[in-house]
């Protein structure tokens, strides 16, 4: 079901004919777009890896002052959607547009994708391996590169992949900062010229790039398994004494936090003060918030409906079919929201016209985008109630319905509810698919922000941005809490 849009995309492009496709494809513009997009992805990924690993190491493995505060600060940029960060920068610094500004904003927004998994891996890795390396005569730096980096390699590649896919899919920031990438070009082709074939071909190239990166990650993931830690009792890792480097490190992390969080916060606060002075705005904001709520609710409901059987199947009957299903839904997750939105537009116009520009089609778009998020939540929740608990309950004389009521549901419902909340908030933040698929005349927080930003009405955009950031902090907090970085030192 989530692959309908993708399949349709391929079919429609095929109908355009090969000559037309090659005509569109082999232009200087496409090669320039490809160069820009890949360049941006590379620069941002490298930047995020350096920033993320550095911050994670300082927070987890050194005696940095105020470590827990910095752990929260390093995770918090996740709560700032890139289009909001871009909007706050562009409204603060004049002429802030193009490749490098986009790279800066995207790096500052996405380095938590590296920081969080790497920090978790560093906190969970076995210090004994490092001690063995030191005892065999390797110095601190040699041990870090030969042992520590390999221990955290799965987290590193996973985080890096996430960043790269995120940059490919990003639409809001690159559009606001006028960086020439595929997503922006696709939207312009579709929005201005209604150039379907052009938009379709460009979408397919973008999908191709995505698949390429995914395949690369799969190829490197298998050897990574060898570095999985051994079983047995673990101690928490020893911390390195930073000595007089402590305060420079604090300064560095503070500077990053100021750029990533301080600029958006200051800009929002200033613009909000201007925006509130205009009367009549608040009814618009309230309407948009209402629309956001109802559309996201529909999206979250449909997504969970599809995710429940898929997640339970993955958790309870691991096998070929469930693995394939899971992988397929991840493929659609890696697809840019813009491409999913666009293919659903064509699908709606040509196949299910009554659904075009309806809430149902938008909900389907959300489902295609966020199904993996929901499936992971369901799978995790199901793992909370392993089958052996049900076996025990049955053997104690309780029938299947009673077992479901007294054991399975109490254990799984919290996880499923958290999944619904996550999907709901992801839907609220989603911009490109919402822009393309929303029912005519229905404005949400995200689209209002977008509309106002594109006409440089920064003050009018501020309330929407503030509300969205506030809402986004909730799942960010959940995510950070889950990595264990925030847990106080163990007493043992």
């Amino acid at each position: 079901m989530t692959l309908i849009p993708l399949a349709y995309l391929v079919v429609r492009t095929g109908e355009a004919g090969w000559t037309r496709i090659t005509e569109e494809l082999l232009t200087r513009r496409v090669s320039r777009l490809a160069l820009h997009t890949l360049g941006l992805a590379t620069v941002v990924t490298v930047g995020c890896l350096l920033l993320g690993v550095g911050a994670a190491f300082l927070v987890v493995r050194t005696n940095l002052p105020m470590r827990r505060l910095f752990a929260v600060l390093a995770a918090l940029p996740l709560a700032v959607p890139t289009y909001i960060a871009a909007f706050t920068w562009v409204s603060t610094v004049d002429g802030f547009e193009g490749f490098w500004p986009a790279a800066l904003v995207l790096t500052l927004c996405s380095y938590p994708y590296v920081f969080l998994p790497v920090a978790a891996a560093l906190a969970g890795s076995d210090p004994a391996q490092e001690e063995v390396s030191r005892s065999l005569g390797r110095g601190g730096w040699a041990t870090f590169t030969a042992v520590t980096l390999r221990q955290i390699r799965p987290a590193l590649t996973g985080g890096g992949l996430l960043v790269a896919l995120y940059v490919l899919a990003d639409f809001g920031a690159v559009s606001i900062l006028r960086a020439d990438t595929f997503t922006r070009a696709i939207f312009i082709a579709f929005d201005l010229g209604f150039d379907r074939t052009g938009a379709l071909v460009l979408s397919l190239v973008l999908v191709g790039l995505t698949v390429l990166i995914l395949a690369g990650e799969t190829a490197t993931r298998r050897p990574g398994r060898r570095y999985a830690s051994l079983r047995g009792a673990r101690r928490s890792p020893t911390r390195i004494d930073l000595g007089r480097w402590g305060w420079p490190a604090v300064g560095g992390l503070t500077a990053v936090a100021l750029l990533a969080l301080g600029v958006p916060a200051a800009s929002l606060a200033r613009r909000l003060a201007e925006g509130v002075s205009r009367p009549g705005d608040w009814t618009e904001v309230a309407t948009a918030a209402g629309n956001s709520l109802s559309l996201s609710l529909a999206g979250a409901a449909l997504t969970m409906l599809l995710a429940l059987p898929l997640g339970l199947l993955t958790a309870r009957a691991p096998g070929m079919i469930s693995t394939v299903l899971e992988r397929l839904s991840y493929l659609s997750h890696a697809l840019p929201g813009l491409v999913i939105g666009l293919s659903l537009v064509f699908f709606g116009i040509n196949v299910v016209y009554p659904l075009y520009q309806s809430t149902a089609l938008l909900a389907l778009g959300y489902a295609a985008l966020f199904l993996p998020l929901a499936t992971a939540a369901v799978t995790g929740a199901a793992a909370q109630a392993p089958p052996v608990l049900e076996d025990v309950a049955r053997s104690l004389g309780r029938g299947p319905v009673t077992v479901l009521r007294t054991v399975t549901l109490p254990l799984t419902l919290p996880g499923i509810a958290a999944g619904v909340a996550l999907v709901f908030l992801a839907c609220m933040k989603e911009l490109p698919a919402t822009l393309l698929l929303r029912p005519t005349g229905t404005d949400t927080l995200a689209t209002e922000l977008w509309t106002n930003t594109s006409v440089a009405a920064y003050a009018a955009a501020a309330p929407y941005a503030a509300l969205l950031v506030g809402l986004s902090s909730v799942p960010t907090w959940l995510l950070t809490a889950r990595t264990g970085v925030l847990i106080k030192e163990n007493q043992s």
């Binding site: 052996v388 076996d391 053997s395 104690l396 004389g397 309780r398 007294t406 254990l411």
Partner: protein, 378 residues
């Protein structure tokens, strides 16, 4: 009357025969240990009795009622067969008291039954704790109490001690054995640890490749194993080849009397035979007395020692020596004598002899301890 009776039970997963033909009888109020190497079908057998698997042939009777047979398959919750799984599997959202009360009906919950079984397992004051606040051993005790509470016809324990360390395990299994006995429960314990099976069970059923090879009391099964494989699986065994001439058994350790015949075993009439002795039957003496041998290695266990000895022309054997002062040194020449009688079987194609699990060879010598700190590893 027997509480549990399995007749020719068979279970197949696709092309794999998990259980080929299992016959077993368990008397009321007793503990039977089903002992076998990993993958022999022990856990499958347990799941068939509990009702989580449908059997393909045979019948299972619990407390005089056929729960699985030709056209019968009673659902697990109607069988009155409670399980204690390997990883205790306490309900994480329920307190210890609610876990134990889970299988009780409303009326029984108001009685002192919960307190009674908690006392039996020695955790009467832990009712208000949550499972994650308990150590691994305590969790297993609660899992047993939970199974005991509704007074089921049968309790099935699936390697309940295997995840605990050796010192804790010995204490826990003695306590749980006592709790089961005090409550008059009938139980089947599945294990791959022969020391565990021999020390706690009233009856040991040795399982191999989906069938019960032998079921008897621990002493019987140790002294009269049904074949060389079982002999080596139950404890240390010295397996030799010998010849019988005119009713006398000649072995590399000299002439040894053959055990008198008994039900289920009698000496074969062939010339070539397999011979089984236990290491504690070997007496190690001065070099000029008995069969000469060289000491290769000595494994010291505190209360006893296992001496590996090289015979002049028949490989190595082990001898168990108690009273471990004045042990011979490695390389010393000694003389060997055999005490007691030998079991013999007609020589057959050799069955691969199992090696006992590693941990059985290093029993703790220090004082036993129970781990009391809560929430280990959580």
């Amino acid at each position: 009357m027997s509480y549990l009776e399995l007749r020719a039970v068979a279970k197949r997963y696709g092309p794999v025969d998990a259980l080929t033909r299992v016959d077993l009888t368990v008397a009321p109020g007793t503990l039977t240990a089903v002992l076998g190497p990993s993958g022999c079908g022990k856990t499958t057998l347990l799941r068939c009795v509990a009702g989580f698997e449908h059997i393909d042939a045979g019948s299972i009777t619990v407390d005089g009622r056929t729960v699985a047979g030709d056209s019968t398959h009673l659902a697990p919750h109607r069988r009155k067969v409670a399980i204690v799984p390997q990883e205790s599997a306490l309900f994480p959202h329920l307190s210890v008291r609610d876990n134990v009360a889970y299988g009780l009906d409303r009326a029984t919950r108001r009685t002192s039954r919960v307190h009674e079984v908690l006392t039996l397992v020695g955790l009467a004051d832990h009712g208000d704790r949550m499972p994650h606040q308990l150590s691994g051993g305590q969790q297993q005790r609660i899992a047993v109490a939970r199974a005991l509470a509704p007074r089921p016809a049968l309790i099935l324990l699936d390697e309940p001690f295997s995840s605990l360390d050796a010192a804790l395990r010995a204490d826990l299994r003695d306590d749980i054995r006592a709790a089961l006995r005090a409550d008059g429960a009938t139980a089947v314990l599945v294990t791959h640890d022969q020391g565990e099976a021999l020390s706690v069970a009233d009856q040991v059923a040795v399982m191999r490749a989906g069938a019960i090879v032998q079921a008897a009391t621990p002493a019987d099964i140790y002294h009269h194993p049904t074949d060389p494989w079982t002999a080596a699986f139950i404890g240390d065994a010295i397996l030799l080849t010998g010849q019988v001439h005119d009713g006398t058994l000649h072995t590399p350790l000299g002439a040894v009397p053959i055990a008198p015949p008994r039900p289920g075993w009698s000496a074969p009439t062939t010339t070539e035979v397999d011979v089984m002795l236990r290491p504690e039957q070997i007496r190690v003496g001065r070099a000029d007395e008995g069969v000469p041998a060289t000491v290769e290695t000595i494994a010291f266990h505190g209360h006893d020692a296992l001496i590996t000895l090289r015979l002049t022309d028949a490989g190595t054997i082990t001898a168990r020596v108690f009273g471990t002062t004045g042990l011979p040194a490695a390389g010393a020449l000694v003389g060997l004598r055999v005490e007691g009688t030998a079991l013999t079987w007609a020589t057959r194609m050799p069955v691969p002899v199992p090696t006992p699990p590693e941990h059985d060879r290093r029993r703790p010598v220090g004082p036993r301890r129970d781990r009391a700190e809560p929430g280990v590893g959580h």
